[in-house]
């Protein structure tokens, strides 16, 4: 696509370019600065509390004895399950919308629908999960209900990111595939999807990040805030790190504020590990595709 207007382009202004690049770098670094400030604060408050007892203990009324084992296990299992539900469904929806359902009225409706769902506050998903998964479908206040609820919450992110990723694959490639006699699904599976994979992974990362930080909808549908055992099955009760953090920050004893800070560190580390895996994957795939 050639430059839009027909008037001649001005010769490049190198110093302006450098200034602009500097501005963009500054824009990228400022949020990072905020992140460092925030995490720095948290680490200072909580690092003293981090220890083996903290990581393997259960919650307690005595701040110094409180631990986060059920919360970590719950969060990890919850997020993994959420990913298992949300990511395939999200990708499948995106594929349908992009590859099969072009431009139609239904596709547009679904498109607006999904953008809308992305903006529904998480507490509504909690109410939906409570009525649908906990009560109507009878899963009870379980990991399964929690994961399904969070999957509904984050699916729109996966869908929107995947759609954009699919859109970046040039039409010419698809047509080349068809011209060679491949079926639509073959083209998707072997040409389009691999190329769109980096963007799909981006969406999955953002979705998982969102899921791991949610507390209110889970509490609403009956997640525990304290439990003295580990979830041992899909239908078992569960708790999660953000729930524990939320509870501790509202307690009067000062020791709980430290425990909350330490729990936040653990949560961020868990997130780093989960994200890191997907990011390494994405970088490797992207390097292969870069023209």
């Amino acid at each position: 696509m050639p430059p839009r207007s027909s008037r001649s382009v001005r010769p490049p202004n190198r110093s302006l370019e450098r200034a602009f690049a500097g501005l963009c770098l500054g824009a990228a670094l400022l949020p990072v600065l905020v992140l460092v400030l925030l995490l720095g604060n948290v680490v200072i408050d909580g690092i003293g509390r981090l220890g083996w007892d903290f990581l393997t203990g259960y919650s307690s009324r005595v701040p110094e004895h409180a631990g986060i084992l059920p919360a970590i296990v719950g969060s990890v299992m919850l997020v993994a399950l959420t990913g298992v539900f949300a990511i395939p469904i999200g990708i499948a929806t995106a594929i349908y919308l992009e590859e099969y359902g072009h431009r139609g009225r239904i596709a547009t409706l679904i498109e607006v629908n999904i953008a809308n769902l992305a903006g529904v506050p998480s507490i509504i998903y909690g109410l939906l999960g409570l009525e649908l998964f906990v009560r109507a479908l009878g899963f009870g206040r379980s990991l399964l209900a929690g994961a399904l609820t969070l999957a509904l919450l984050v699916a729109p992110i996966v869908i929107m990111a995947s759609r954009e990723a699919l859109r970046t694959v040039p039409l010419a490639l698809r047509e080349a595939g068809f011209a060679l006699g491949a079926t639509q699904w073959s083209v998707i599976r072997k040409i389009v999807l691999p190329m769109a994979l980096p963007g799909i992974l981006t969406g999955s990362i953002l979705a998982v990040s969102r899921a791991i930080g949610e507390a209110a909808p889970l509490v609403l549908l009956g997640a525990a805030t304290a439990m003295n055992f580990l979830p041992d099955g899909l239908l078992a009760p569960f708790t999660a790190l953000p729930i524990q953090i939320f509870n501790w920050t509202s307690r009067p004893q000062a020791g709980f504020a430290e425990a909350a800070a330490a729990a936040i560190i653990v949560l961020m580390l868990t997130l780093l590990v989960l994200n890191g895996f997907a990011i390494v994957l994405r970088n490797r795939v992207q390097r292969r595709i870069r023209r």
Partner: protein
């Protein structure tokens, strides 16, 4: 790929696959339907007790007080104020970061900076909320006169920071995907980097950028914990970012996890506010859809 033979069975398989994909896509419609049903049942019950005129024309929101007022606008004002502040922060920073990552950053820097920015999206919103309350507000009180302990400015800014990765990641993917051949064509015509970026790369990547902004708007409007902790619980019809306000989402969480007996009028307001929020997001999304399509067609 070229060697695969097409057989009769493949056509049926293709159809199955397509139907399976359609089924997945319709899950989103079913979800919306379910949400609408849940909201509608209680909303209708609410409006059988409180006339729509009071809802739209009263200027106070005090549904849980003995002397109850049900005017929705104070909550709407709170939501719009915090979301606007968030977007004013997120869109410029997000887009400029995306341009940096996609156009200027060396691969190694990009490999570190992009994941770091994505980490911003993963900080639990509770943590952001307390950060806004305990760190950002006191900091801002240093140079914003009259800034209250609970206000719209601080959570708005922090929300903006949280949303930056949404815009950056998706926009950057779109920018990355612009074929180099287009850039090279522009350079060949004598354009500099800035001209290429603004006249070639960004317009091509517009679809992805627009999608990221739509997502950002939705996220800002629907954000709950940051505003619940740092913006206050005083519904107030104002555009002053320095005073405590209440957003629609804060109210929902307050009632959802609070004391009101389920089934009471006070509890029903939760659903009414949810329905209003849903309607607001819907209108915003249709509007941005139309806008994006007009851009694309040009």
């Amino acid at each position: 790929m070229a060697g695969r033979k097409r057989t009769v069975g493949t056509t049926r398989r293709e159809r199955y696959i397509r139907d399976a994909l359609l089924a997945c896509a319709s899950l989103s419609i079913i979800t919306t339907f379910a949400i609408l049903v849940i909201l509608a049942v209680e909303t209708v019950a609410f409006f059988s007790e409180v006339p729509l005129s009071r809802f739209l024309f009263d200027d106070e929101w005090t549904p849980l007080f003995a002397d109850a007022h049900f005017g929705i606008w104070p909550l709407v004002a709170g939501t719009l104020l915090t979301s606007a502040i968030a977007l004013v922060v997120a869109v410029p920073f997000g887009l400029l970061s995306a341009v940096y990552l996609g156009e200027f950053a060396p691969p190694r820097v990009r490999g570190i900076l992009k994941p770091t920015l994505e980490l911003l999206a993963g900080v639990p919103t509770i943590v952001y909320g307390y950060f806004a309350l305990v760190v950002m507000t006191p900091m801002l009180q240093g140079f914003v006169p009259g800034l209250a302990g609970l206000n719209a400015l601080s959570p708005g800014i922090v929300m903006g920071v949280m949303i930056v990765p949404l815009i950056t990641s998706l926009s950057e993917d779109a920018i990355e995907a612009v074929p180099d051949s287009l850039r090279e064509g522009a350079y060949a015509l004598g354009a500099g980097r800035l001209a290429t970026i603004f006249r070639v790369v960004l317009p091509t990547a517009l679809s992805g950028i627009a999608a990221s902004i739509v997502l950002a708007v939705s996220r800002a409007i629907g954000e709950t914990m940051i505003v619940a902790i740092a913006a206050g619980q005083e519904p107030r019809l104002t555009l002053d970012p320095r005073v405590p306000i209440e957003t629609m989402t804060t109210f929902m969480v307050q009632v959802g996890l609070g004391d009101a007996p389920t089934g009471s009028l006070g509890y029903r307001t939760l659903f009414v506010v949810g329905a209003s929020l849903f309607a607001m997001t819907f209108v915003a999304n249709i509007f941005s859809q139309r806008l994006a399509r007009r851009f694309r067609e040009r």
